[in-house]
């Protein structure tokens, strides 16, 4: 095998092992761990400071809960207010194994569905804990006043989501993420008012301070004044979200970025399964090169909408003029038992396949129909409006088409990243004292996340898991030596940060940050997107170092570092995207199997489904950083399945 670059010649190091998950029956592990974990005396908690980076569902709920427990919390977000974290944009809902519908749901079924939906690349212990905690989350949120949808009797309503056959998704119209986030934000606000949280909005973490091998603080930039400051603590929690913006076009917020997790990775935290990215099947197609981001239409639309394309290639008649027997409801045809509700990875790939066949609709043939005509006929327009009104409005605002009259056009887009910092059962990274929660870690979704599970995981980590496990760490490291800005370790990190920003400003080239970001994104979408091949990934690995070289030669960042400078913010994030993109491609290249969202064309069943290679790849790939452009070291965490036996996923 010839290698495309030195970078691809990775070496394999010692396996990485999760030492925190107790043995024994899976349903007893979380109780056992909580009992075994050391506690911090309530009177001593206020002497401990915990830094939390990010205020989304994971960070917001963690900050509020740690403060309630008595810890001193110092919390950061790049937004002007914690209420704007991108969790707010989650539409569809949150899963919980409440079994209010009496439809056969249980904690075990949610556990089973999540392990299977993740295509057997997640850790059983973690997923089971997530399913157990799911029921408490709903109770917590209702107590906070989250206005979930309710039935006429006053009880909570639920709906079903892709990849499952029960109705366990709780929702607040199409704004579930917003309502859950505001719940966490309000709990956080209560603690800010009580003086238990020191809040730093418009402040972005740029690096991690490690002293004696332990995470002890961060370097952050005040985005208004440009001032670089240091903050210290007994533990650091990263809740900074995912890295979908590597692709430039994604459903992430414009400023969501990977800098916090990537800087932590550079400082020694392993990065796990970076190639596991989720392409969401129901997004609004792009309209041109000016496109700055993509908008998701909630997957809940697949409950009532029917997905189809014309049977004939190049059929450019308007949708309403294509007769029923000339339409191909391809998901219902290929997957009769799950139909339009197959998991996201399968729905996305199927859409790509029909478009590749030349049967796509809309500009450039990059779209498929999501049709509500039957639903409107069956339920009446009023009922459809009540269920999806705001989503329909949003679609109409963006496309200028009325989805009550003509079918929506949708196409897959990058949406979520299952990969992230490697964490053990306690959500601790490989750097002692550094924790990662929510989308920033890799732990619970394997190779594909089921719909309505991101909100569940973010809140499980923040409200319940981290607050229990971080005690154990803090109790075992009670009186750390105080770290100051003068500590040599701090001085060095600050110097490196300042040097990097100065260098970005000094290049004074002729290309904008966005132009590089767009170029990188297009490369990643083509070669590390919905379908990946060895040849394509090698091409990308050849190209990325060239982009990096050109970036440092031609980048243009106007203004100075000592002011509000959005171009500098962007350019600095792109430096990290370029390095992360390289690791994503290497991870995708090394994993010569298809699983979940990672589809290697070389590894598929005769009918085109993802074919896992369990013998060889039943592990989480945790990568260790060795230098920019230098080939990393792979550490494997073997995955053991005691309860859910790996099978070829079937949704037919």
């Amino acid at each position: 095998m010839t290698l495309s670059s030195e970078y691809a010649e990775y070496s394999t190091g010692e396996p990485v092992v999760d030492t925190k998950a107790p043995a024994g029956p899976v349903h007893e592990r979380w109780d056992k761990r909580r009992f075994e974990a050391k506690l911090v005396n309530p009177a001593n908690r206020r002497k401990h400071t915990v830094i939390v980076v990010g205020t989304g569902l994971a960070g917001g709920s963690a900050g509020a809960t740690l403060a309630e427990q008595g810890y001193h919390v110092v919390q950061f977000c790049y937004q002007d207010s914690p209420r704007r974290a991108h969790s707010i944009a989650a539409q569809g809902g949150i899963n919980a194994a409440k079994n209010y519908r009496n439809d056969g749901d249980s904690v075990h079924r949610l556990f089973y569905d999540t392990v299977k939906g993740g295509d057997f690349r997640a850790r059983e212990s973690n997923v089971h804990r997530l399913a157990q905690i799911s029921v408490e989350i709903i109770d917590q949120c209702v107590a906070q006043g989250v206005p979930f949808a309710r039935e006429y009797g006053g009880l909570l309503d639920t709906r079903s989501f892709g990849g499952v056959q029960v109705s366990r998704t709780f929702y607040a119209r199409g704004q579930t993420g917003q309502q859950l986030l505001l719940g966490a934000y309000q709990a956080l606000s209560r603690q800010v008012a009580a003086g238990n949280i020191e809040l730093h909005p418009r402040t972005e973490m740029l690096d991690l301070v490690i002293v004696d091998g332990k995470a002890r603080g961060i370097v952050a930039r005040d985005l208004v004044t440009g001032k670089i400051d240091t903050y210290f603590a007994d533990a650091v929690v990263l809740a900074s979200g995912g890295y979908g913006n590597v692709f430039y076009l994604s459903t992430n917020a414009m400023n969501s970025n990977a800098t916090a997790i990537w800087r932590a990775h550079r400082r020694g935290a392993y990065f796990a399964n970076p190639c596991f990215t989720q392409i969401h099947p129901t997004c609004i197609p792009r309209t041109g090169d000016h496109q700055s981001k993509l908008t998701l239409m909630s997957e809940s639309l697949r409950n009532d909408g029917r997905i189809w394309v014309p049977k004939a290639k190049g059929d450019d008649r308007p949708a309403n003029e294509i007769p029923e027997d000339e339409r191909d409801y391809y998901l219902e045809r290929i997957y009769p038992s799950f139909g339009n509700l197959v998991p996201r990875d399968i729905a996305s790939r199927a859409a790509k396949n029909v478009c590749d066949e030349g049967r796509g609709v809309g500009p450039g043939g990059q779209g498929v129909y999501l049709d509500f005509a039957d639903a409107i006929q069956r339920m009446g327009r009023k009922a459809v409006e009540a269920k999806y009104g705001n989503l329909f409005d949003m679609y109409q605002r963006i496309t200028d088409e009325d989805p009550y009259q003509v079918p929506m056009r949708i196409y897959p887009a990058v949406h979520y990243t299952m990969g992230g910092l490697w964490v053990d059962y306690d959500l601790s990274t490989t750097i002692p004292g550094l924790f990662a929660i929510g989308e920033a870690n890799f732990s619970d979704h394997g190779a594909n996340r089921l719909g309505a599970s991101a909100l569940m995981q973010g809140l499980a980590d923040g409200y319940f898991v981290l607050p229990a496990t971080i005690n154990d760490y803090l109790a075992k490291h009670p009186h750390e030596e105080e770290v100051t800005a003068e500590h040599p370790a701090t001085v060095e990190v600050v110097r490196e940060t300042e040097e990097r920003l100065t260098r970005l400003l000094a290049v004074d080239g002729d290309r904008t940050p966005d132009s590089f970001h767009r170029e990188l994104g297009e490369l990643m979408w083509e070669f590390c997107g919905m379908a990946r091949t060895e040849q394509g990934l090698r091409k990308a690995l050849d190209r990325i170092p060239q982009i990096r070289e050109e970036f440092w030669r031609r980048i243009k960042v106007p203004g100075t570092g000592e002011e509000f400078n959005q171009s500098l913010e962007k350019a600095n994030r792109i430096v990290d995207y370029i390095e992360l993109a390289e690791l994503m491609c290497l991870d995708a290249l090394h994993r010569a199997e298809s699983c979940g969202g990672h589809f290697r064309e070389e590894s598929q069943t005769p009918d085109g489904e993802a074919a896992r290679q369990d013998e060889e790849f039943s592990y989480a790939a945790a990568w260790e950083f060795t230098g920019t452009g230098a080939s990393p070291v792979l550490h494997k965490e073997d995955l053991v399945f005691e309860y859910v036996h790996p099978t070829q996923r079937s949704y037919a």
């Binding site: 809960t65 991108h86 944009a89 107590a143 309710r150 009880l155 917020a253 700055s292 200028d400 002729d510």
Partner: protein, 248 residues
């Protein structure tokens, strides 16, 4: 489309600001308003000029970051957020004025970016239900009548963008404050703190330097989420009730 933009430029909070004129060409009807500004900024950067600073993040109308006064209207001519406004709402050759939110409680940080932390402090004053993690009863133990749940949701939709303040001739924050009070006060879970919530939040709102309400209704007209004007009268009723109860 070819457009003339007159944009508020202000280097920082202490500097004097002024309108600057720019020409942009090749604008497509399908672009969002912010994508049009991206186009301008790309040109400015290449020319070595300072790009126009503006707040934006989700670009799908829910985070509440974007905040432009366009031709004198908060969020522009359509009832939506600035990020969801598309260039099809304008004509080739138009001149468009772009300004930041104007209110003394929202000082300008740079260009079109303002400081809205006053909103956070209003929420901190009482815009929550005290329910520490772990203490929650089973979710179905307290049914909530559907009309109440719907009323709560209608007010909980507020995205905290501040268009209501920007649109108000008095720079009042009544619609923002009332939306949160109504969301929480109608729910059984919010009842124990019903009085302190409205009294403390209104007091904080006054402390922040927002103006008084004269019920002109500009706020509700500008609100991209359709928070209704009666939200304010409901809050006033809550406030009177709470004062009476506390006085007793």
């Amino acid at each position: 489309m070819k457009l003339t933009l007159r944009v508020w430029r202000q280097k920082n909070a202490d500097a004097e600001g002024a309108m600057s004129t720019y020409e942009v060409d090749g604008i497509s009807q399908d672009m969002s308003f912010l994508e049009m500004l991206d186009t301008l900024n790309e040109e400015l950067i290449v020319k070595g000029e300072d790009p126009v600073a503006f707040d934006h993040d989700c670009r799908e109308g829910i985070c509440g970051a974007c905040s432009l006064v366009i031709n004198g209207d908060a969020h522009g001519p359509e009832r939506t957020t600035t990020c969801q406004l598309h260039m099809r709402s304008f004509q080739d050759g138009d001149t468009i004025d772009i300004e930041p939110w104007r209110a003394s409680a929202f000082p300008v940080i740079k260009d079109l970016v303002v400081d809205r932390t006053a909103f956070d402090r209003i929420i901190q004053a009482g815009g929550y239900i005290t329910a520490p993690t772990g203490a929650a009863p089973e979710a179905h133990s307290t049914p909530v009548p559907k009309p109440d749940a719907d009323f709560a949701f209608e007010h909980a939709e507020c995205i905290g963008c501040g268009a209501c303040v920007a649109a108000c001739p008095n720079g009042a924050a009544m619609l923002f404050t009332s939306a949160k009070i109504n969301h929480l006060n109608v729910l059984p879970q919010g009842a124990p703190e019903r009085e302190t919530r409205v009294l403390d939040m209104v007091a904080q709102m006054d402390d922040e330097g927002f103006g008084g309400c004269t019920l002109t209704g500009e706020c509700a007209t500008a609100c991209p989420k359709g928070i209704p004007l009666f939200s304010i009268t409901s809050m006033n009723k809550e406030w009177l009730r709470a004062n009476r109860k506390v006085a007793r």
